[in-house]
Symmetry: C2
DNA sequence: CATGAAATTAACCAAATGGTTAAACTACTT
DNA sequence: AAGTAGTTTAACCATTTGGTTAATTTCATG
C-alpha cells in the first residue's frame, strides 16, 4: 500500500479513536500524518468514507478471533475461559476500542447491521452441546453473552471512571487488568461450571 | 424555576444525551425547546456551560443513591443485591445515561475529578466489616466494584450491540433487563457470598 | 396609562470546518 | 529532453456553528 495512504490511516485511527467522529477534525488528522489536508480527500474522498474505513476494521476486531477458540475440542466453560483471557489481553493493547465501537454502533445502528458477525451462533452451539451433557449450568444464552462480555470489556469501558473512583494511575489500571484475567476465569467457572 | 429555562434544560438533556457534546447543535436544542437560539445564551451563556449543567446532574445520578442502601443494617452481599436491583431499575428508566457519562468522563477527566463522589468508601467499609466476620469471600475491592457495576451497567452500555448480536427489538431488550435483575442478584450471591 | 426592567426575537458576525481547485512537483516512459 | 500520469500543495470556497446585538415585546408596578 502507498506510504502516504498508510500514514493517513494511522493518523486517522488515532484521532478517531480518541475523539470520535464528531470530535475529530480532518485538519488534525492531516497534521498528525504530516501531510496536506487535501491528501485526505485525494485518497479517501470524504470524512465519512475515511471514518467508515477505520470503523469497519475496528468493529471486526472488537468481536475477536472467537472462531478459533470456539472450534477447539473442549468444554464450553474452558472455551469461555480461554476467550476471556485472550480478549482481556487484546483489550489491554486496545483499551479505547470498546468505547469507540459501542459509540458508533449506537450512533449508526443501521450501518453496523450490515457488517458481518457470527459470534453468537458459535457460542450458542457450543453451549447447547455442553448443557445437554450436563457439563454446564442452565442459563439464558443472552445472559451468558452479556455476562462474559461484560466481565471482560466493562473495565475498559469504565476505565476513566475507575481510575477516578479508585484514585488509580494508568499503570495501576493496567496492573488491575492483568489481575482481571485470573479474576475473569475464576468468575466464569463459578458462574457457569456445574 | 423559569418556564423557558426549564424547557431549555429538558431539550438540552435530550439532545446532549443522544448526540454527545460534539454531536449536539445549539440550534437543535433551541428547536426542540421551541424557542429562539439566543435564549440559550441568555440563560446559560455558552454551550459549555449548558452542557456542564446537564452533565453534572447526570454524573451525580450515575452513581446512584448508594448511600441509603449502604447505610442499612444488613450483610454486605445483601446490600449489593439491593443495590443491583435498584440500579438496574434506574437504568431501565435511563438507558442512555451510562454511555453518556462514561464518554464525558473519558473526554474530560480533569473536570470530573472535581465532582463529589463517595461511593467507594461506603462500599469498602461495609465489605471489610463482613469479610472480617467471615460473611463474605475475599476479593480485591477494586475487582468487586468493577464486577458489580459491570453486571448492572454493561448491558446498557452494550445495548445497541446486544440488540444487533441477538437480533432483538427494544422491547426484547427491556424484557431481558427485567430478567437481568434476578440474574444480577444470583450472580452476586454466587460470586461473593461465603 | 406610563415606565422600566426582563424576556424574546431576527438579523448578523467571525471563526471553524469539510471540501475543491488549479497549479506545481515527481518520477517514469519514450 | 519531452511528455505524461500520478502525487502534493497553497489558496480558496460555501456552509455550519457558536455567539452577539440591537430592536421589539411582555408585563408587573407606580
Amino acid at each position: 500500500m502507498n506510504q502516504t495512504e498508510e500514514k493517513i490511516l494511522e493518523a486517522a485511527e488515532k484521532v478517531f479513536l480518541k475523539h470520535g467522529y464528531d470530535g475529530s477534525r480532518m485538519q488534525a488528522i492531516a497534521d498528525l500524518a504530516g501531510i496536506n489536508k487535501a491528501m485526505l480527500h485525494y485518497y479517501f474522498r470524504s470524512k465519512d468514507l475515511l471514518f467508515e474505513r477505520i470503523f469497519k476494521e475496528k468493529f471486526s476486531r472488537f468481536f475477536p478471533a472467537i472462531e478459533e477458540t470456539f472450534q477447539l475440542e473442549m468444554h464450553f466453560v474452558d472455551k469461555l475461559c480461554i476467550f476471556a483471557e485472550k480478549y482481556i489481553d487484546f483489550l489491554i493493547q486496545n483499551p479505547y476500542l470498546p468505547l469507540f465501537v459501542l459509540n458508533n454502533i449506537n450512533k449508526n445502528p443501521d450501518f453496523s447491521k450490515n457488517l458481518p458477525l457470527n459470534m453468537p451462533q458459535l457460542l450458542l452451539q457450543s453451549y447447547l452441546e455442553d448443557v445437554e451433557k450436563g457439563l454446564c449450568k442452565m442459563h439464558q444464552p443472552a445472559q451468558i453473552l452479556i455476562t462474559v462480555l461484560g466481565i471482560c470489556a466493562f473495565p475498559f469501558l469504565a476505565k476513566p471512571m475507575m481510575t477516578l473512583l479508585l484514585g488509580a494511575s494508568d499503570e495501576d489500571f493496567f496492573e488491575l487488568m492483568q489481575q482481571r484475567k485470573e479474576e475473569a476465569k475464576k468468575q466464569i467457572r463459578i458462574l457457569f461450571e456445574v
